[in-house]
């Protein structure tokens, strides 16, 4: 099934600055797997070391949160859009609880 994965701004730097990527996948998990295979740097931002989706990242198929569908086993169909929606806090340098500047 041809699906489009939308990459949010904070993660685009790890995906060659792309805002989306297209894959053939039967489930959300498969699509995310293709994504992190193509863009290895994304893996640690999306998944924990034991392969679970990080809790401050939400994934949607079209407009539905996969937590209320079948999570990573949610089936996908042609034309579906998978959105990755990470937690963001603001535009200041404390946005992610890091010190100002590096």
């Amino acid at each position: 099934m041809a699906v489009k994965v939308m990459i949010p701004t904070p993660l685009r730097v790890y995906a060659g600055k792309r805002d989306s990527a297209e894959f053939t996948a039967a489930t959300v998990g498969e699509a995310l797997g293709h994504l992190t295979t193509q863009f290895g740097d994304l893996r640690k931002h999306l998944f924990t070391e034991d392969g679970k989706l990080r809790s401050f990242v939400n994934v949607y198929v079209n407009d539905e949160d996969i937590r209320y569908l079948a999570k990573e086993n949610t089936p996908t169909k042609d034309g579906d859009t998978i959105s990755i929606v990470p937690s963001i806090a603001g535009g200041s340098r404390f946005a992610h609880s890091s010190p100002p500047g590096c």
Partner: protein
């Protein structure tokens, strides 16, 4: 489906609800009054509404300005910060003459000038678990315009405990999220994000930057949602997450469900009081969040002496390309995120001095390289900012 207006309850210290508008108010708000969706009834609801703004910065500026313009009868402004020169790129409630002043006071002055008829209170205080409930209880709606995770969870929890709507907006670089939490059958922030990201696991470093106008758009949407809640019109963003991509100029709408197992607003509440949010977010105090890496360092003046003496030092710059364009020390640029992949470009037999903007990213680079076997590597203490302060003031600071 429109949402019900939050009933306005009078607290002991409050004025009795206004039932009329003065002639001057009728003239000021005439463009509201001639709309059937607002009318006298809606304008009176605005006059009797009490809204508390958490943060008077990028999001708080358009928020405050539009809520004051709309005639919200009582506005509270919570901000403990002072106006900084770098704020003026986006915090449009302030002018250049406000630099150094209390943000809450400067915002109050600006909003009072816009609308002297409304009551505006400045709370120059940091919002904490100790004061949030007391501060929130006299207001009807809380608007979250803050810039850090601990405060977001604090605002959420306080609103749920008190039963107050929380008009949420957040931004990062070119993206925004807006929704309304805290309505009776709606979700809360913890339904969306049960846990915050741990510090250290964030995109590059916190140098995300932001296009100044972005919080202007998102804050204005928050003001719009607040006004709609007050006058009880239109479809609220309760249960919907509005995503805004400014670069692509796209708005998207995702369904936000109330999590039945949410520890805060779910069927079995397990959180009954405000917690230590800094601990929850893994942040130890505001000054030094996240671990500081200890690595061998060189001070800018010493680096300068050694370069002047002709020492063969290899300068490694681990910042981003656009930072290199602002100013640089002619270093070899390998952004920190690319270092693992490009480490072969470095010669471990040479003495390397790594630098970034203020010394933190380069400390991580030095740590990484030492673990990779590099023995002759130093971190420029304080980064290019310290170089500007101590060696060459012509180098711009940013």
């Amino acid at each position: 489906m429109s949402t019900k207006v939050q009933p306005l309850t009078a607290s002991p210290a409050a004025q009795p609800a206004a039932t009329t508008l003065t002639n001057e108010e009728i003239l000021r708000y005439s463009r509201h009054l001639i709309m059937p969706e607002v009318g006298m009834e809606g304008q009176l609801k605005l006059k009797n509404a009490k809204v508390l703004l958490i943060g008077t910065g990028g999001l708080g500026a358009p928020l405050g300005l539009y809520l004051a313009a709309a005639g919200v009868g009582r506005l509270g402004l919570v901000d403990f910060d002072v106006v900084d020169f770098t704020n003026l790129q986006r915090q449009i409630a302030f002018g250049t003459s406000d630099v150094g002043k209390s943000k809450a006071q400067a915002a109050r002055a600006r909003l009072s000038d816009l609308n002297p008829d409304i009551q505006i209170e400045a709370f120059e205080t940091q919002l904490t678990s100790a004061n949030a409930l007391e501060l929130f209880k006299d207001f009807d709606i809380i608007v979250d315009g803050t810039d850090n995770f601990p405060t977001r969870y604090l605002v959420n929890d306080a609103c749920i405990l008190l039963g107050k709507p929380n008009v949420y907006g957040s931004i990062f670089r070119f993206e925004g999220q807006i929704t309304v939490f805290g309505m009776p059958d709606g979700p809360c922030y913890r339904c969306l994000y049960p846990e915050p990201p741990p510090p250290g696991l964030v995109p590059s470093c916190a140098e995300g930057g932001v296009l100044g106008v972005l919080p202007g758009i998102v804050g204005s949407i928050q003001a719009m949602e607040t006004i709609k809640l007050i006058i009880g019109r239109g479809d609220s963003l309760v249960g919907r997450l509005l995503l805004f991509d400014a670069l692509g100029m796209k708005f998207r709408d995702l369904k936000l469900r109330k999590n039945p197992n949410c520890p805060m607003c779910g069927e079995q509440r397990t959180i009954n009081q405000l917690i230590d949010y800094y601990e929850f977010c893994g942040v130890r105090g505001e000054e030094a969040p996240g671990p500081n890496v200890q690595v061998p360092e060189i001070a800018p003046k010493e680096l300068k002496s050694r370069l002047d003496r002709g020492d063969d030092l290899y300068i490694l710059d681990v910042r981003e390309p656009h930072e290199y364009q602002i100013c640089n020390l002619n270093g070899h640029l390998i952004p920190l995120g690319e270092l693992p992949r490009r480490v072969h470009e470095l010669d471990s037999s040479r003495e390397i001095v790594a630098h970034c903007r203020s010394g933190k990213r380069s400390a991580e680079a030095v740590d990484f390289l030492r673990k990779a076997g590099f023995r002759k590597i130093l971190n420029l203490k304080g980064g290019i900012l310290a170089w500007s302060d101590e060696v060459d003031p012509t180098v711009p600071k940013y």
